[in-house]
């Protein structure tokens, strides 16, 4: 364990915010998800270096933390565009036309799921469930849900995100 002090990678603001979460929890690793979200809020995504730094700060192994980070759709382990477009591909949305909706969005943005538009404006991601089956087919742009979404609405909905 002779890595350099990874904690240097995190800003004081990030560390302070994480410590506030830690203070409410029984042990440090329990703050894992909060810490990942805090760093993501500051940096847009969680790099390998940030991940290692958070793991050190919380006293857990990088592998354990990455296992959590990669489990969640809303934690980005690669850089994303200014806006993240999540398209639900779970059962309810599939039944309600999710597949052709995804097709339409792909065509509109000119990218495949997992890619970012060249201008860095949108990243398109499939998502297993947004918890909004009543609004299927549903998408989420950043933290806003849109649905039920007709294919013809795609341009307007996405256009609203600069």
């Amino acid at each position: 364990m002779s890595e350099p002090a990874f904690i240097d990678v995190l800003s004081q603001a990030e560390i302070d915010a994480i410590e506030i979460e830690v203070a409410h929890l029984p042990d440090r690793p329990s703050a894992a998800i909060d810490a990942l979200l805090i760093v993501q809020k500051h940096r847009g995504w969680v790099s390998d270096e940030s991940l290692a730094a958070i793991a050190r700060l919380l006293g857990m192994s990088a592998a354990d933390l990455d296992s959590i980070a990669t489990f969640y759709n809303l934690i980005y382990r690669k850089p994303v565009g200014r806006h993240v477009v999540m398209v639900c591909d779970s059962v309810s949305c599939y039944v309600m036309g999710g597949e052709s909706l995804m097709m339409r969005i792909r065509r509109h943005l000119g990218i495949e799921p997992g890619e970012t538009t060249e201008d860095g404006r949108y990243t398109l991601l499939p998502c297993v469930c947004l918890g909004a089956c009543d609004r299927a087919p549903v998408i989420m742009v950043d933290d806003q849900l849109a649905g039920p979404l007709a294919e013809s609405d795609v341009e307007d909905v996405l256009g609203a995100f600069e």
Binding site: D48, L51, A52, S61, A62, A63, D64, D66, S67, T70, F71, Y72, N73, V128
Partner: protein, 903 residues
């Protein structure tokens, strides 16, 4: 017990145990993936689905997972019902969607749990025509290969590596259909038990890398039951051989020693058998000339000559079997025989025997320590000196979790339930060691102290157990925990080189006995046959033997499988061998080339453990037989055969041994070794149907072809006159003795999972009983002995040296195994920062010990006590002087990396 019915078969099962385990204990075929006998159930893979019926009337029943269903009196199930069988077939079909069609090039093929389950479930035709997911594989170091495409997401790897073995660097990443099992980045898997992934993973994701490089199918590997030569735990192993080369080591189940798992020293340390520096020829030399090869008969004549006269000293070895040592002892006479330990270590090993015999505590089996609910480790870095034990100690601290689960009525096999409920609650393990160890992370209390203080602390704990001393102190708290535990365990050993530490351990155990509890006391020795060689005895200490040679009291010496430079002051060894070369002969019989063979006059090549048979005694005093896996190429021969021949040729009536069994018989006439006769079946044992037990599998291929490039005639199969095993595929496995089989295989079960077919019950003893005979049965009714602290003075200039052991590198033979060389580290001197400063040395600088004429790189660790220096035992540092020794900074030191970089 509960009577249950499965497809019309009625049998008894333990109430509350899960149905999968109950079915497997009946030797029924029921597919599974995520369950493992040591890891319990999580109900994740859905492969073990069966139908459960509510009552006699119920005809439809409902689908349940066998591994998650406790059995209850009168319960009725069906494995074969179409609803269950069809469901299992669908599960396999899903799992196989992304699985590559690479069985022909996959190392797992032919012993693959996934293949077996696929065939068993009847999924034979692929309907999925989409693209398969593919993954990038990682370089996981010299031991383990990685081929992620083969993964079926059963989680057995992380459940073993992370949850069971405490590894921190292997995890499951991602979710749903995008799961990846590996590290955050390429790199060596850190756990010392990583090799078990090869057997734990039901597919070919994790494979044995050295084996892949020189590969044979399982069905082409010849084998015989063997014992790991890596340390004193004595894990049971199954070495695989093809074309006269040792290919790999697999675990061989033993219900009391190693269960389902080995350590990586054991699994990857055996390639020394094929090493280039094996001694393969007889040699002689005159003066300082090069060795000239001589015929075996010539070498034998020299040995015979030495057998006749009394002017000889024989030095045996703890890495040779009892029989080999005994043969040498017989040849030279007891008073001229030395067991081959350093004089200091001999005392320590005798102390183990004394303490075991004194009845200070019950001697537990290595697996039994998993049941301990409070553990005190005194001085021993178990993970490095007796590695497999550390895995068992890691399970022992889970007893608190199990207790909590029991309280909450969660079945103990419900792995996720137990872990979730306990939230990491651990039973107490107290660890007093010289430096941080791999068990510190699970210890309730850790202290890093030099041996003499560990001993003092230990004696204080013993006093506190007896009610003397402050309760508030650490000693008081440890004493209280041990006293209130149901199954307390004390672990110590010879590792830190201080007998007082072991006496302190005995004192604690003894005090617990006085206080009315029934403590277990396990003392670790360092080498595979340390206790065997100790029990055999011998009249000479090593220093004394060397002095005899040096001052001409004896002119000749026979050294058996021993590098004396690792056992005694190198200058004394030099002087002794020099005198003996001048006055007589230095005959060294070994399997490798060492500094000692380089100083011999005569060389005799002896068989490695896999090439012969013999008995090793492990750290609990269990004598275990290992059998010959394959024949060495002449003139390499078993040491007992060389020595026996010589004795016979010299007309010695006491050495008229035709066969190995006669050696055993003669040896068993020594006091304390009577039980040797019963250790294992002799050469006349026969398996089922009165047949020999085949070393080769019934599917072994190329019998007539494999030597065709040398001779088109099929070779005559050699006859094994020494054991019940044959060198061919003919014969029958097992018979009455469960351990008497060369491989585990059952119809439909080609993988090692088939072992359940040969167990009394899942996770229990092999049918016919656990093998080996314990030579120290717990002393009953003996009053607990008392052990008082003896006074030592430790003043003076210089450093007190403390031996440090490393799983990879400290054991002489495994340190020659190429994968271990790649994995292992270089020698080190460990000093406290203050001491390093006083020597003007920084991390990585060379530290020289003039007395040993050796230097090694400095590692600074503040856990090392001031005035003490830890020396990593291995090629550089073997024997360490007692008393204080001067160390200095070595300005000319170059680390091995620097030297390699320069070349």
């Amino acid at each position: 017990m509960a009577r249950i019915e499965v497809d019309g078969i009625v049998f008894e099962a333990r109430e509350g145990e899960n149905l999968l385990q109950a079915c497997l204990s009946q030797h029924l075929d029921l597919p599974y993936f995520c369950w493992h006998p040591s890891l319990g159930s999580v109900g994740a893979c859905r492969q073990c689905a069966v139908i459960q019926y509510d009552d006699e009337e119920d005809e439809r029943g409902r689908l349940v997972m066998a591994c998650m269903t406790p059995v209850q009196e009168g319960a009725r199930f069906s494995v074969d019902a179409p609803g269950a069988a069809g469901f299992r077939a669908s599960v396999i079909e899903w799992l196989m969607e992304n699985h590559p069609h690479d069985c022909p090039v996959c190392e797992e093929g032919g012993e693959c749990h996934l293949q077996d389950m696929t065939v068993m479930s009847g999924h034979t035709t692929r309907r999925f025509h989409g693209r398969k997911k593919t993954w990038r594989n990682q370089d996981l170091g010299p031991f383990i290969g990685h081929e992620m495409n083969r993964c079926i997401t059963c989680y057995r790897c992380t459940r073993f590596y992370h949850d069971y073995a405490g590894g921190k660097d292997l995890q499951a990443f991602g979710s749903r259909s995008r799961m990846y099992f590996g590290r955050t980045a390429d790199g060596v898997l850190e756990s010392e038990f990583a090799g078990n992934l090869v057997e734990v993973c039901p597919t070919g994701v994790f494979t044995d890398k050295p084996f892949s490089q020189s590969y044979s199918r399982k069905w082409d590997l010849g084998s015989a039951p063997s014992i790991c030569p890596g340390c004193a735990v004595g894990c049971n192993i199954s070495p695989g051989e093809r074309f006269g080369r040792l290919k790999r080591i697999h675990n061989r189940y033993h219900g009391e020693v190693n269960g389902y798992f080995l350590c990586d020293r054991g699994r990857f340390g055996s390639h020394f058998v094929n090493a280039e520096n094996r001694l393969r020829r007889c040699g002689v030399r005159v003066g300082d000339e090069e060795f000239q090869e001589i015929e075996g008969l010539e070498a034998l004549a020299v040995l015979t000559d030495l057998a006749g006269g009394g002017n000889v000293v024989g030095i045996g070895s703890p890495r040779a079997s009892i029989e080999d040592n005994f043969a040498l002892m017989q040849l030279v006479g007891e008073d001229q025989f030395c067991a081959g330990f350093s004089s200091d270590e001999a005392v320590l090993n005798e102390l183990i025997v004394d303490i075991y015999r004194s009845g200070a505590g019950r001697v537990p089996t290595p697996l039994e320590i998993e049941n301990s609910d409070a553990v005190l480790v005194l001085g021993e870095d178990v993970l490095n000196s007796a590695p497999r034990l550390a895995l068992s100690l890691r399970q022992s601290v889970r007893n608190e979790s199990l207790r909590l689960a029991e309280g909450a009525r969660i079945p103990l096999w419900q792995d996720a339930g137990v872990r979730g409920h306990a939230q990491g609650a651990l039973s107490e393990l107290f660890s007093l060691t010289v430096l941080p160890t791999g068990l510190d992370d699970i210890a309730a209390h850790v202290e890093h102290l030099p041996p003499e203080q560990i001993a003092r602390h230990g004696h204080a704990i013993a006093q506190a157990v007896a009610g003397v001393g402050a309760e508030e102190s650490a000693s008081g708290r440890i004493a209280a925990a041990l006293k209130s535990a149901k199954r307390p365990l004390i672990v110590s050993g010879t590792g830190c080189g201080d007998g007082e530490v072991m006496r302190a351990a005995a004192a604690v155990s003894s005090a617990l006995r006085h206080a009315g509890s029934d403590p277990a006391l396990l003392l670790t020795a360092l080498e595979v046959n340390s206790l065997g060689a100790t029990l055999l005895g011998g009249g000479l200490g090593l220093d004394e033997a060397l002095k005899r040679l040096k001052n001409g009291a004896a002119d000749n010496v026979i050294v058996l499988e021993n590098d004396l430079y690792r056992r005694a002051d190198p200058s004394l060894v030099d002087a002794a061998l020099e005198a003996s070369r001048r006055n007589g002969r230095v005959l060294v019989a070994d399997l490798i080339e060492t500094r000692t063979t380089a100083n011999a006059t005569h060389l005799i090549p002896v068989a490695a453990y896999a090439e012969t048979l013999g008995t090793f005694v492990n750290l609990e005093g269990r004598a275990q037989r290992f059998y010959q896996v394959f024949e060495p190429r002449a003139p390499v021969t078993s040491a007992w055969q060389w020595l026996g021949e010589a004795g016979r040729a010299a007309g010695r009536n006491d050495m008229r041994w035709q066969h190995f069994d006669t050696v055993v018989e003669t040896c068993a006439s020594r006091p304390g070794l009577e039980a040797l006769r019963e250790v294992a079946p002799g050469a006349d044992y026969r398996g089922a149907g009165g047949l020999r037990i085949p070393r080769e599998t019934h599917r072994a291929s190329g019998r007539t072809a494999r030597n065709a490039h040398i001779d088109v005639h099929e070779r005559k199969t050699p006859v094994d006159t020494e054991s019940p095993f044959s060198f061919s595929m003919e014969g029958a496995q097992g018979g009455a003795v469960g351990s008497a089989r060369s491989a585990v295989w059952a119809p439909g079960w080609n993988s090692n999972q088939s072992v359940f077919k040969f167990q009394d019950e899942v996770g229990g003893a092999l049918i016919g009983g656990s093998s080996g005979i314990r030579l120290f049965e717990p002393a009953h009714g003996v009053p607990a002995p008392s052990y008082a602290m003896s006074q030592t003075s430790d003043e003076g200039e210089g450093f007190r040296l403390i031996p440090l052991h490393r799983i990879f590198g400290s054991d002489e033979l495994s340190a020659m195994s190429p994968p271990v060389v790649e994995r292992g580290g270089a020698a080190e001197v460990v000093l406290n920062r203050a001491d390093a400063g006083r020597l003007g040395a920084r991390e990585g600088d060379g530290i020289r010990c003039d007395l040993l004429s050796a230097s090694a790189a400095l590692r600074v660790d503040d856990a090392m006590a001031v005035g003490h220096a830890g020396l990593v035992v291995g090629e550089t540092f073997g024997w360490l002087p007692r008393g204080r020794v001067v160390l200095s900074r070595d300005p000319d030191f170059r680390s091995s990396q620097e030297l390699i970089a320069r070349e």
